[in-house]
Symmetry: C2
């Protein structure tokens, strides 16, 4: 079976979705953006041996790829619309491709995003790029640049779990590790859960937003830089899971601050909207935590029990710099 | 210099373009599709050692990546709008990135497409994916599926040159090779010229279209399959360059039929529009050649001097099957 036939079999089924005039199978997909909506787009890549371990199950890769990419749409308060894929593989393994495409289709369906195009090529290692396309009412996309002094800093979910999940894959488990906790952290690593519904519900209340892919410190730093402001972060307020505390009590704080790849949202919200935002999150059953304040003084202060924690906090996730990618 | 700073320096300058509300530097770009226009998108990948030789100059890679990707927009009769990039590299080499991004910026500017986003990651070999976004008036995108019996089959430019250019890089040059001919074929390999202006000028006259990336036989085959028709191709009519004839007289026919990566257009045009289309092309100074006819009988017949050429023609470019990728 050649490339064309394989791709057709794996990816060309059930390719329908709102605004899809013409999906996979032509030189381009033809898409329709509804009046009054802007298009938001983002591209993300996963590389074998860098972002995932060789031998990772294709279904887990598909879920991680789509979840991480769609999280960028959540960070703009956008509604997912369409996704395209560039898949580079050492060989055209039918079993792998079928498992990957089945999980991809399932996860895309759950997240309301339609696969509309792709390119499959051969290469020495697996490299997966996904471009996501979302829609947002004109002028309502969240940017990083809108934070103002006095805004509260909110984060969704819990932080550091994905880094903990990775640790369970890289190192022998702690002797006291509970299997459910291990599984929970691994799921957080493999299956990012974009905070779409919450983002859409809070769309009008948020000054600035980013998704936490490089670690809270690094990503909050991007908001501060883009907005020309600073922040005070209360380290004791950071939301962490029982699972992470159970398995890695020594690393909880570092990983919550800079573990990376949690794909939670970090929001800057006017103080007057804080309780309304918290209520909305509670109604949706999503944890949303106030972890600090935007300040007029630039720079990022991390406080613990009222004291500034100085210096040696781990840096953000940097694909060309960090040692532990 | 870390990833963020490097990317900023290389890719974040002069990122403006029509419809770009917010370009590089946020979780997503924010884009505006004008009323009455549809969005067309396509993603393409180049892999080191598969689509280009290790050590290829970064400027040549940038030109090839952008040209090949934008060619898919020409094949839809679309106007280029925006491009995003996923760049995987063994290391963050500043010299490489600066040369790549400078050539990229130059070529994007020439083709009228704005860089609006990207992702840069580390990996064992260079893998480059580009997603292009174009605009086309509602309902006017060219598809592969509109060919009808009696349509003339037209191709732009000359065929087989890119394959010839690759040969000059892979094998010792023929003893009689003229340097200008070598250079001309290499340019055709490294620097695809999307037929944007011609496509936009012929937009209303064309029944079906594809760009020739896999070779004429393979790509015309896609039109036939999508349209449920067949074709007769006159091999003596295929447009070939003097340079290709000078360097590789024995391979001209095979490479014109199945060399791949020419990024010319193959069009199915109503016979009544033929002379008007040829006139338009002549006025634009672009070679456009009538090479055959769409037939009601399915299947692709290749004729030479009135006789059907049987059997052993080379197959189309297939990244997972061919031996010479």
């Amino acid at each position: 079976m050649g490339e064309f036939e394989l791709i057709r079999r794996c990816f060309m089924q059930e390719q329908t979705g709102a605004g899809v005039i013409n999906g996979i199978g032509d030189d381009c997909a033809v898409l329709e953006v509804p009046p009054g909506q802007q298009l938001v787009v983002s591209i993300d890549t996963l590389v074998e041996g860098v972002h995932f371990l060789p031998g990772t199950a294709p279904a887990q890769l598909a879920e991680r790829l789509v979840g991480a990419a769609v999280s960028d749409l959540a960070a703009m308060a956008a509604t997912p619309a369409w996704i395209t894929l560039a898949v580079t593989l050492p060989q055209a393994d039918e079993t792998w491709l079928l498992a990957f495409s089945r999980a991809l289709s399932q996860r895309c369906s759950e997240l309301g995003i339609a696969l509309v195009g792709g390119d499959t090529t051969r290469g020495p290692v697996c490299v997966l790029s996904a471009q996501v396309h979302g829609l947002v009412p004109n002028g309502q996309a969240w940017l990083r640049s809108g934070a103002v002094p006095g805004d509260r800093i909110l984060v969704t979910g819990s932080l550091g779990d994905s880094r903990g999940g990775l640790e369970t894959l890289l190192q022998p488990l702690p002797v006291s590790a509970e299997p459910e906790a291990v599984e929970q952290l691994r799921q957080r690593f493999y299956r990012p859960e974009p905070r779409l519904e919450l983002a859409q519900s809070l769309r009008e209340h948020v000054h600035a937003a980013i998704d936490i892919s490089d670690g809270l410190l690094g990503d909050l730093g991007h908001i501060l830089e883009a907005s020309g402001v600073g922040a005070r972060l209360e380290v004791d307020q950071l939301p962490v899971s029982f699972a992470l505390q159970q398995l890695y009590p020594q690393q909880v704080q570092d990983w919550a601050l800079a573990g990376g790849e949690d794909f939670e949202l970090c929001l800057a919200v006017p103080a007057a909207q804080l309780s309304s935002c918290l209520d909305t999150a509670q109604a949706l059953g999503i944890r949303l935590t106030d972890v600090g304040e935007i300040t007029a003084d630039t720079g990022l202060q991390v406080l613990q029990a009222g004291t500034t924690v100085l210096g040696d906090l781990p840096g953000s996730w940097d694909h060309f710099r960090s040692e532990d990618e």
